[in-house]
Symmetry: C2
Subunit: 158 residues, 2 copies
């Protein structure tokens, strides 16, 4: 085995290609399962989950978290609000923005969806990677994510 500093660097292009393909297929597979059981897709589950963990956050906070545009986030919240899962509450500290919270129905939905999500993602990942490799990839992706967020890489305009 090569020591830490002597391994040849892997081709970042291949790493990126595999990253995108894994993400696409996992996302598609999770969408399928969440849609058939709960009528939502993964991006909606992720919004609901973030609102459960960060009640009172604003549209801009969600947009920054998911690295998507503010407009898209606002529209996504519109849809969740129409379903009765999210409410916009007036922000006493700044009347330009709203504080986003889950309704009781929203809490029930995210809790139910989480069971489905957890079961399926566990099956997909653990079916393909042993613990050592899963731990290695989890650590590396967490580092990469932190670096990208620190440097504000890949934030859309709007």
């Amino acid at each position: 085995m090569a020591s830490i500093s002597r391994g040849s660097a892997p081709d970042p292009r291949l790493l990126f290609a595999d990253l995108v393909r894994c993400e696409t297929r996992l996302y598609n597979a999770l969408n399928e399962r969440l849609r058939e059981r709960h009528g939502i897709v993964t991006s909606q589950y992720e919004f609901l989950r973030h609102l459960r963990e960060h009640p009172g956050c604003r549209v801009a906070d969600l947009a920054a978290e998911f690295a998507i545009g503010i407009g898209a986030t606002s529209k996504g919240i519109d849809r969740l609000e129409r379903h009765g899962w999210v409410a916009r509450q007036p922000n006493p500290a700044d009347r330009r923005s709203s504080l986003l919270v889950l309704t009781d129905d929203g809490v029930r939905m995210v809790d139910a969806a989480e069971r489905t999500f957890t079961e399926r993602v566990t099956e997909l990942i653990e079916g393909a990677l042993d613990r050592t490799r899963a731990a290695a990839v989890a650590e590396a992706l967490a580092l990469l994510r932190t670096a990208l967020e620190r440097d504000q890489i890949g934030m859309p305009t709007g």
Copy 2:
């Protein structure tokens, strides 16, 4: 250090969340650079690159490779064809399908875009991960991708 079989399994939910966030930001950052220098986005670069490596492949082959729908793939090829980078040639063995090839302009475009893409993705990945971790994540994602493809996970309908 724990031995191979004794490490506790990382939470696949966190692994997935980090995977998606990394993919989103890397994709956005690469889109930005490719758009400003060449007027294309990453998905188009990936189509062109696959066609360069697999001349004469069909629409369905591209769709399977990228785990996207056949319709979307057909429309993506329409756009590349309108730009004059791809040509549909009649398939002598099956007149329902076409053989897709790059034009000379397409070859020039993909070669130029590849320099930009390689430079940027290298900077993004190597700026955040040391060789050991990059190699570990590359190996694990390649395995995961192979498993997902083998089991036909996450293929859209159309």
